[in-house]
Assembly symmetry: C2
Homo-oligomer: 223 residues x 2
């Protein structure tokens, strides 16, 4: 097996976007895609697309572009998504229910196979075809469903405790929606989705777009 290059995180994120776009183009019957078209759909330059796809063995052909089914399967392999990945969700509040009813998961190789909660009123309810089980079942669920990923969608105050439970149950990666950083041991992957951080970042993007427009208009003014 060849030694896998460690792809930088921002490039890895873009590869995952290319995979999604590639899959949706395949789904509408396209056979090839150019770096220009792929980039335009994502607001990424064609040059950046070509640089990113250079991490894969396959190169696009000038004037033809990338063969979509090859691209999708190479991206899947590169992203470790050739085989199925199972995730367990802890917390079936609004975010948890949004995740359980998120349709694209159903076709994806990364899927939420079980949902847990500690609220007796939530246990036994069905969301997106999965029945909510008590958090006490965590270790059994992880074994039974060969779960490797955990999703935390509980209130701030319980997030670290749930992270510890997930790590204790043998999970190898955690996606945390609680607006607090969780601490995990070395070797466990963890990432956060924080709505507040996303909205602040957007405000900052708007500010920078405005500054860029102002600079451009100042440059156009006659001296």
């Amino acid at each position: 097996m060849p030694l896998r290059t460690r792809i930088p995180r921002p490039a890895a994120r873009r590869l995952s976007l290319y995979l999604r776009e590639g899959e949706s183009l395949l789904a509408i019957g396209a056979a090839t895609v150019s770096s220009e078209r792929l980039g335009a759909r994502l607001g990424i330059s064609a040059a950046q697309v070509r640089r990113d796809l250079a991490y894969l063995a396959q190169a696009g052909q000038r004037g033809v572009g990338y063969d979509l089914s090859t691209l999708v399967s190479m991206l899947s392999r590169e992203l470790g998504l050739e085989r199925p990945w199972h995730a367990v969700l802890v917390g079936v509040g609004n975010i948890g229910r949004a995740l359980l009813s998120y349709a694209p998961f159903r076709e994806s190789r990364v899927s939420i196979v079980a949902a847990l909660d500690c609220d007796p009123a939530a246990i036994g309810q069905r969301w997106g075809g999965r029945m909510v089980e008590p958090v006490a079942n965590l270790a059994a669920v992880v074994q039974r469903e060969r779960v490797e990923l955990g999703v935390i969608a509980v209130p701030i105050g319980s997030a670290q405790k749930v992270a510890d439970l997930l790590v204790g149950a043998g999970i190898r990666g955690i996606l945390n929606f609680a607006p607090v950083e969780i601490v995990v041991p070395e070797g466990i992957a963890a990432s956060n989705v924080d709505f507040g951080v996303e909205l602040r970042r957007l405000a900052m993007d708007v500010m920078q777009e405005t500054a860029a427009l102002e600079r451009a208009s100042a440059n156009r003014r006659p001296a």
Copy 2:
């Protein structure tokens, strides 16, 4: 006014994380923070923290660290969050309701001031203190509340239409939760939060962590 440097997007994202951590440290009574402590809370190296904070005028003091209240106010200014930013949410399904009940927004300078939906059953309901209004009110709401940001939390099929409505109403930045890329005119900031992309990226992180551990253990083996 000094020319603002365009901060690279990944650094900008980290600045927004530093701001959040800085605010929560201030809230528990801390006066200073070291780059090591700030980094450890976020899984970022101290060296990276220092490089990122070098974008700000203020430098930390060796052995003392950064003065927290100065750091928070400089980060706020840098991130364009000194003044309030108003956002309008379109779509009050599970994601929309999660956003409306997301507590940290209430103290933040970026806040969701109005929620719209096109479902007559949803209109008039209250979530997180805001009453859902019809989408037809969009232009009036944007004027009334001085809204600059839009949040899309509608199904895939309506996302682009809502984006067009938001742009038409004069919004300058869009945060899109529908799992599809939206197209916006030049000069409008747009970013996406896609649960599937996040989970795939996590799977890939796990794969890379595993590869790194395997390499490390291979290196430790006697030759």
